[in-house]
């Protein structure tokens, strides 16, 4: 790439989504991770992280991305914009084509989505902002991501979703926003977050969980589900008057149980969990505002200090990898790399 190419790519990346000209792999995306980023020139995009924790820019986007999802069988990478933006990017790694889908009238995306098991459908969390309702947008992948339906998310401010069998599990964060007032929370005094299950064969809500009245200002935002269907939730305190509230919970039958308090206290998370990931051995959450990650597994709990850490994802060895806004990618065995990228909130295994 010469200087002219570099400048052309740089200016184009601020206005439109572009593939990075040369990728180190051909054809199918090898096993690794995807992570959104901002580079030192203020450009956003998606990076691919390989097994050696080397990072490579896949594409640039004009908007900051959040959750990034790979199709279960095809080399399609999908990324909905963060609130209150209205673009959904579909990158075809094989053909190097990019499709941008705009949210329906009166809707915007929340940065997270979920494929169904065979990859024929893609779901997104959306805001019907004038109606003040959380929605799930249903897109037909086989028809080029045509929006074919929408369902109520069962609450306000839906954020992350996960799939377990035919059940779509939605973290309704409870935070009301409107594009006219940006990202400001409009309902801090009557938030009602919940965890909602939707049967994807009918679009009907089948189950809901809520925290007790005194914890309703803790927004349920990030979740993961294990092989047994247990859902783990990471919370964010919207009022921030105190630091000792339990921020990590899990489902237990028809109830929610808080995880054991870290030895260092709930204060270590500084009121904010940014990502949640579970594997066959345990659970890991990351808190950029606490500058730490925390693991619960059979051996107990482990505190991991890491500045601005937020991305967390399962590793092939049954462990986890972490990414940070300072460009660090690390595993838990001492391997780490620093890159000239600010890794954004979420890291997704592919």
């Amino acid at each position: 790439m010469d200087r002219r190419d570099f400048l052309r790519l740089g200016s184009a990346a601020f206005t439109t989504a572009t593939f990075f000209p040369q990728l180190s792999f051909a054809g199918t995306l090898p096993h690794g991770w995807l992570n959104g980023f901002k580079d030192n020139q203020g450009r956003y995009g998606v990076a691919y992280i390989d097994q050696k924790l080397q990072a490579e820019v896949l594409f640039h986007t004009p908007l900051r991305l959040h959750g990034i999802y790979k199709h279960p069988t095809r080399d399609l990478i999908v990324a909905p914009a963060r609130r209150p933006d209205t673009e959904l990017y579909v990158f075809d790694v094989t053909t190097k084509s990019i499709k941008v889908i705009t949210a329906d009238e009166g809707r915007h995306f929340y940065g997270h989505g979920q494929f169904n098991q065979d990859g024929t459908l893609y779901f997104t969390t959306e805001n019907a902002y004038d109606e003040e309702r959380g929605m799930v947008g249903v897109y037909d992948v086989t028809q080029g991501f045509k929006r074919i339906a929408e369902w109520s998310s069962g609450g306000i401010g839906p954020h992350q979703m996960r799939l377990y069998k035919n059940r779509l599990i939605i973290a309704n964060g409870g935070i009301l926003t409107h594009p006219d007032t940006g990202r400001a929370t409009l309902n801090m005094d009557d938030m009602a977050p919940n965890l909602t299950y939707i049967d994807i064969t009918t679009g009907q809500i089948t189950q809901q969980f809520s925290l007790s009245e005194d914890l309703q200002h803790l927004s349920i935002r990030h979740i993961d589900v294990d092989d047994n269907g247990i859902v783990y939730m990471g919370l964010q305190d919207q009022v921030k008057n105190r630091r000792d509230l339990p921020l990590v919970w899990k489902t237990n039958g028809d109830t929610l149980d808080m995880m054991d308090e870290p030895v260092e206290g709930w204060e270590i998370f500084n009121g904010y969990i940014g990502s949640v990931s579970t594997n066959t051995h345990g659970l890991c959450v990351a808190s950029p505002r606490g500058g730490c990650a925390h693991i619960w597994d059979q051996t107990g709990t482990t505190y991991i200090k890491q500045k601005d850490v937020c991305g967390v994802s399962k590793n092939a060895d049954g462990s986890f990898i972490l990414t940070s806004g300072e460009g660090i990618v690390r595993d838990l065995d001492g391997q780490n790399q620093r890159h000239a990228l600010h890794f954004d909130n979420h890291c997704q295994a592919v």
Binding site: H66, T181, D190, K240, R289, E326, A340, H342, N345
Partner: protein, 336 residues
Amino acid sequence: MKRFFLFSFLLLSPIAVQAAPSMQEMSLKVTEEFILPAYDDFAKQAHAQSELWGETCDAEKLKPAFQKTSDAWAKVQHINFGPITSLLRRDRLYHWPERRNSISKSINKSLADKDPASLDLDKFASTSVALQGLPALERLLYSDGLLDGDFACKLGHTIALNIEKIATGTDKDWQEALVNIKEGIAHPIYFESMDEVAIRFFTEMLAGFQMITDQKIALPLSSSLKKANGKRAEGWRSNRSTRYIQQNSLALMAMAKPFMSFMPDDVEKQVVAQFTVFARAANALPLSIKDGVKDEEGRAKIKKFLDETRTTRNLLVQTFTKHLGLTVGFNSLDGD
């Protein structure tokens, strides 16, 4: 892969900046010039208020002391770091925004029970946080007919004493923490390093801007004139909905000042100029946010102030990180 590293190298080209001050220097200056005087004033006003409650139960005589104590609280309201985080002080002092009228419910229950034992100061510290702080005192002083009878007066006095105890305890703990900051060593409870102190002072200041936009304005303003609800404004009963914001704005400027003394002159001038614009927009706010959100002219002034709040915050992020070496994480600053 080689290309990526070349790319990375280009992105990492260093920018020439003057040497940043040490984190200890900044921590000490902000503590001595802003934190300690502000908490000291809060403790003094809270003490004067509780003394007055010991002498009278006349709401009209007590209101000026409440206003002065609230003004002093507004100076440190954005700080959620250090001694204020201990013993649930912050939550007990200022339970707001409240949910489902919890403050009135707590007061009404206390007035109905009339249990003298509940007013024991040590016991009172573990009662509902909705009953313990400034919002409860406001409710007693500014709601018609509530401050009536011996028990209500004693309840008011107990709340005032409780506020004083929290304020003086916080002030005293900061005085003690100053020793650690002077020596540049960790505090066993409040901080591990001088980096942490300086960066937390900075991020608490940024959180102060967000407190204004998200809690104090977005709640009553809502997304449209039709949905606006002035009674979600802070301190509307005591006519403080605008005053709180103006006092908060002045406090943010006062807290930024000791930081700015470490900046190059031209940058300091730029930040001061923006703070002046910010303060002017605060002064131009409707006299009452509670009423201002209900008309187009008021909403326009509020939105203008919101714009300046965001501009000022962004300028602080940009200049403080570049010239003072205060790093704020990409994810911690703006997550989702």
